[in-house]
Symmetry: C3
Subunit: 636 residues, 3 copies
């Protein structure tokens, strides 16, 4: 892949401001070193105030103003914020939640992905936009919708969703008998006589059949992909500019790889301080330490993930510049973090980092969300850091990533599988993957994230495949022929594609003589200590078979077994155990590791080593002193 | 009562498996020493795939296969799992929950006990079964439905329930004026003009009238009894085999004694590890200690309770054999527990212990629930323990229980009363009764549980009657003439049958000059210390009167008073106080007690003393060394 | 203001008791020293058993019996407890909660303030009462309804409320364009095309627009005022007796000042023990210490608040006399507290303290709520204390209050504003105001509470204006001309009246050169230490400008700035910081302060200093030994 140019951008909402401000805003953006302005994604009610009455003039003028000032425009489709008249035309288009409550207009994203009438409205407005701006010289990229699924809006229990799910089942299973067999509906007389009897798996008195849940999750995810695809197809008919979607952090309700297959670039919205307090489950001490820096690994993880989703092309579409409004508490970043976060993104291959937003809006839901300007148009603190990054980029403009030596397979369907059947209430797929990711980062490793459809592992030395519910055949074959160290488990390949236990028993790995004879989930006060230190938490599998035992529990049961490079891990390791397991694998594969101090992190690109200090205290690394929020780089 | 033969059984679902497996399964059951196979209770969709289309051939063959192999069959009615077409015919039959949400097909038990159309469907399928198998030589017992009320399904706020409740009120009170008077509806202008105005007590803005709540709870309980009775009457018309229902643990939503009056045997489903983490409210340290053994007293309590419900005849219909799927965490039992639990059941008078289930199903909701076989048909660990119990039973086949010397009165209506009006948010009836039961077990006592309708206490020396909301006249008379020590209170006889305070004030016990002048409920950080050690927690009553004071608070108020053998306890004692109170009562009555080490438990039958080690460490008792999960017995 | 006579009263429900008891009850009331009997407020179903069928004879007799015995009657309108037939006539009158669930008959207050049909019914019954008793010699005061808003009933999401809100918006904004502009609805395409499209702000998938929330809260509050006003107008047409409403403690859902403007007297219902455990957010240690006394400042705060609401005229309409029934736990007061609470009320200017209730009802929801009599008509413990207060009142009958030197501005709309947009999840307006109030009380100060409409500060030396969302012009002018010390902030004047940020930035105080450049909300584990000790918690604002810095953070940022007497506080101070800030302000203004021991409290009237010992241990103060629950007074 050729390295793209690194650039900065900002999110702008011309419709929020008096038109008299636009020109000065555009000039100040350019002066600050920004290249991109992202606009349009919530403007539907101003583009089409009533059904069919289009008002695009203001947008023409806004694009011209920005473009003439020297900015490239990313134009968003406005489908994440349907205007009120949509509900006049499609009153049943609203999302119905798991409690059966129809949701209302008054925020955004309240419309169901499965509703045909709404999809037609979206096609219509996207067609208008694409036709009008598809060849516009200043429109250099497109964004579809905004943050698919934000506010838990992927899953809807509406009538529209129910009917669409019935159709989906009919296509997948062809007959009710086949569906009953696939799901095991005989179990509690749950059998269906025809597809029209199938309901969505909410409001049951006991747990749903995990197969039913899993089918509904696959369906719901595919509805998002279908919705996005409809927009991409329209845009592509009229434009050659890249099509991008901006995903969110730790968001698992739809398969981002599947959506990404229709995009040119994967972007995400990076809010390190908000995510720290809401999505990482950290304890108070860790939250207190990183309160104004964000988790040292969460940004890196998502950069690596979305680089995979974008098949190498990554943007940060929204970068937090100051306090936000939506976390339970909203502190200010340490001075320097708006710069550090940008460089972490670039080091992971981001082509563009676009700050959210230009001027803080004094009204509506996000009035307490900082921008690069204050509401009174004075510079907010981040703007100086943006200028610094822009200046630094002139010396280091190329975004190049090298293939890593270490990879983790990440699978959205596995997240759904273990939500459908956690078996232990804290068995969270993301937590397990992220715990492993962190252990790798603590050793100074750069990591690639791989989709489950991966068919070759060439170039990797260590590959981790935790809790992958169903191992696809191509990946299974790649693992069988893999020359490095592969660590699978716990729970890897436990399920068939229809969410049943597999017989013969899991993990059913060719060449590895081990079976999971029994499974235990464990409360927080009942860890299983390992003989060499550390423990299994939450999950422990009793293995049988003749594979070589690499780790044992203190009581002597197998904890990790292997045959050649194929290793199976029988539980959820704590950090002590993870550090040992990672160190052993790297030693076996002769990969150099570091022992990084807490809060210091390293990322290697094709050409440079970047060092980031997330700690609130200064740190030295390889002779370089880094203050809090410090960044340094050197050629490799 | 003549002692019945002890036997083992297993729950089997022929409809889950290829018919080719049945014969081998049956042979392996017999080889393992099993006597009973319990089948049929979730098979409605396979017995009647469409309304009126009956398919009983496969069941004929299954019963023949099992019976021919030497097994006795318990045949369950399938009414706990209505097929999907039931809702096509009776869309309004579903349960409506307290939030007003109609529940859906997709698990089980989602249909309202009050729905006449559903009851008619149940009568129809039960009639077909009873007619076909009532005289079948291999059908040796019947089970009605399955775990009435599981998943909180006793209480429904459906239209069907509302109308049935109005009829129930009309029958009970005859006039709206009488109902208004009985409930005190004048209080907040809650008066009704006619029965059609009465609604169910959900979705109020403030608390419901406790009398309204209590009436609704009595009604809801009676709906279960009526539903069960309808099935029993049909079965009895065609069969002489005993009719059984399998109750659950710590389940209080309906009056099990009332349902039991229509049965021949009371059974229950014993899941010691699942119950430990979900139903006993134990702290972490205790959960950690007994994680793989279950609570040392919970099984015993339920055996004693259901022995009373079955008027002496007790089964365990489902015995946990390994990890289950439904608790927040699901550890594996210690080796030996599948045997220990069976012997604890037999020691408490169980005739049959039936393990759930034969082969672990690889599909649907309970695919992670262990069986005696693994999904791949290999032996699961419990099977060897089952074989051991079967062998031991050849030496000890008779199930005989002696009347105990100590009894506790247990009353479902009191649980409803204190839910309707807890007054202190942690005043839980079951918790109080179980705390007392545990204190008795710690002293090595064997206990009988008595229903509130008990009219004679002959043979008992110590009788405890905690928190019995309304003391029935026959029990009151029995207590008045009782020659042993009776301990009543706190809160005993505080209410009239219409859930009002009684005037003259409680406890209104003949011969005991004490009144509860005032009541205090207390948060966990405000215990009332007792002069002789320990404290009252949660609840403390200010007593007035001239009865002899047996215990005082540290501040000098009466804590326990008595007149002759009639004792009244003015609060909820902690364990220190309970141990002293129990010891004093036993000393007064010259009952021998033991001071058992933590986790060791004793149970005396008519002929033997059984000793069980629930502790995770070995223990010695009367010269016998018991390993963890150890069981021993000796003749008395 | 002329001091009124202090008196005692009691709440009585003649309809609850056999008429034969009335006369004796009345005589015992008089004998105990009571002056007032409050009746009628839940009696609708007995006054009008069916629509239009009036039965007032019993009420005639009850009033006559009480009046003839020497009591003055407060007659309540019964609209807080609509009879069941109201729903037959107006099935859609019920409150719909935020989840969209219609509420039911069976408790009280379940009817929507916005429902025109219900309002008409209320006008009808109030007219009947006012016409019949408006000139009755024994009816000496009126109470409208009861505890407006109790059980969270101010806010309703019913169709009636939605339509009324649309009308309210139409009146306020005149055009949808103006509303869109005022609320910033462009933000997420939330624009409305006409008022009929406006929905209530519940069941959104993301947060509501704070401007939408705020408009709905203002509307909801005004509906209460309108409902009350309708009754007051009717009563005033027929009666000259004072009209009173009894508010609750820590209740913020409607603007009590606005309702109070239509009343003659503001009353409140004082339940110190229940409020301690439910409304003050205290930690366990503090709850344990004050479990049987109540918070030492909560009663005082509400007395001061409602004295302001009543423009100087204050009653306690319901005074807790013993354990109640509705808190999570319900302990008994320490002996003496029923007296102490009455004297605290009188010391704060209460004219009447009326105990709730006369005889404990043995039936319905409040059967565990103590009265002055037990259910069996024996004296309950509080009755002797009531007699003592009655005797003491003969020596000290006048209720006179002096204007305090210290004042706090309290604003209901600010509570709604920070609920609509907390920004930090623990930013609770009441908590902040009450923390400051407590700090003032710890220094022995007597305090006035002022409404936000205050236009003069004459007579005050120290005025605190914390977190007042929008500073009204008259108060702003008064502050500009104020000669004492005014402490504003944090968050004061941050918002326009339409809930936008103000530009120029807050606090926008004339003469004070400071702006809030940035805002941080902080989790409990991330306080900001102050240079002189203590810390900011929850909230910290970064100030810019040239105002004199009075306090700094340990890191050197401005924490408090001033210009002359105008001071701005940039965060939420902990108690250490508050004590210093209060002490400095009082020193600057030469106000004498005390350092009171924990639990001892002082209140000065126009003529006397009262001292109250809320501590559970005896304390000495100014040479007087006060036992627990002790009260003393001396002339000033
Ligand atoms: Zn965003
Ligand atoms: Zn079961
Ligand atoms: Zn009240």
């Amino acid at each position: 892949m050729t390295a793209a140019r690194r650039a900065l951008g900002v999110c702008y909402y011309p419709e929020h401001w008096d038109e008299a401000l636009w020109l000065d805003d555009a000039r100040r953006m350019v002066e600050a070193g920004l290249t991109w302005a992202r606009i349009g994604e919530f403007a539907w009610s101003r583009l089409e105030p009533e059904a069919g009455r289009l008002e695009f003039d203001w947008l023409d003028r806004a694009i011209d103003t920005l473009g003439s000032a020297g900015l490239k425009v990313i134009l968003g489709t406005p489908t994440a914020a349907p205007p009120r008249w949509i509900l006049d035309r499609h009153p049943d288009a609203v999302i119905v939640d798991a409690d059966g409550r129809a949701r209302k207009h008054g925020s955004r994203r309240h419309v169901c992905f499965s509703h045909a009438g709404y999809l037609a409205e979206c096609r219509r407005i996207v067609s208008f936009l694409a036709e009008r701006y598809g060849r516009h010289p200043h429109v250099a990229a497109w964004q579809t919708d905004n943050e698919f699924g934000c506010h838990d809006t992927v899953i809807s229990y509406s009538d529209a969703a129910r009917r669409a799910f019935q159709d989906w089942c009919a296509r997948r299973y062809q007959s009710a008998e086949a569906l009953n067999r696939a799901w095991g509906n005989v179990f509690w007389s749950m059998d269906y006589g025809d597809f029209g009897q199938i309901d969505l798996p909410n409001l049951l008195v006991a747990q749903a059949n995990p197969a039913h849940m899993m089918a509904f999750r696959r369906f719901s995810s595919e509805q998002v992909a279908r919705f996005n695809r409809a927009q991409v197809e329209i845009i592509r008919r009229h434009s050659d500019a890249p099509v991008i979607h901006n995903y969110m952090g730790r968001f698992l309700d739809f398969d981002h790889f599947q959506v990404g297959a229709d995009l040119d670039v994967a972007a995400w919205d990076s809010y390190p301080l908000g995510f720290l307090l809401t999505r990482l489950g950290d304890d108070e001490a860790r939250c207190a330490r990183y309160l104004r820096q964000g988790d040292p690994d969460a940004q890196a993880f998502h950069h690596d993930l979305y680089r995979a989703v974008g098949r190498g092309r990554l943007w940060v579409m929204e970068q937090q510049p100051g306090p936000v409004n939506w976390a339970p508490w909203n502190p200010a970043p340490l001075p320097g973090m708006a710069r550090l976060w940008a460089w972490e993104a670039f080091a992971h291959g981001a082509e563009t980092v676009s700050y959210f937003r230009w001027r803080q809006a004094p009204f509506a839901q996000e009035q307490m969300h900082a921008g690069l300007l204050r509401p009174d148009s004075a510079d907010a603190p981040a703007l100086a850091e943006v200028r610094q990054v822009a200046a630094e980029l002139t010396d280091m403009p190329e975004a190049g990533t090298a293939q890593a030596r270490v990879a983790i397979v990440f699978d959205y369907a596995s997240a759904w599988a273990w939500e459908a059947e956690p078996q232990g209430q804290d068995f969270d797929y993301f937590d397990l993957v992220f715990a492993i990711y962190r252990a790798l980062r603590r050793k100074g490793l750069s990591i690639d994230i791989l989709p489950p459809e991966t068919a070759t592992l060439d170039g990797y030395r260590v590959v981790l495949v935790p809790a992958l519910a169903t191992l696809p055949e191509p990946l299974s074959a790649a693992l069988a022929g893999f020359g490095g160290t592969a660590i699978l488990g716990p729970r890897t390949n436990a399920k068939t594609s229809e969410m049943s236990l597999r017989v013969p028993l899991a993990p059913a790995l060719p060449g590895l003589d081990t079976v999971v004879a029994r499974v235990e989930s464990l409360p927080p006060f009942a860890d299983v200590p390992l003989a060499d230190g550390g423990a299994f938490r939450r999950w422990f599998e009793h293995l049988e078979g003749r594979a070589e035992v690499v780790e044992r529990t203190r009581e002597g049961r197998p904890a990790m077994v292997r045959s050649g490079g194929l290793t199976y891990l029988a539980g959820w390791p704590d950090d002590v155990a993870l550090d040992r397991i990672v160190a052993r694998a790297c030693a076996d594969e002769k990969l150099a590791t570091l022992d990084l101090p807490e809060g210091l992190r390293v990322r290697d690109t094709a050409t440079h080593r970047f060092v980031f200090n997330y700690a609130p205290e200064p740190q030295d690394f390889e002779g370089v002193a880094l203050p809090p929020a410090g960044v340094s780089w050197r050629p490799l």
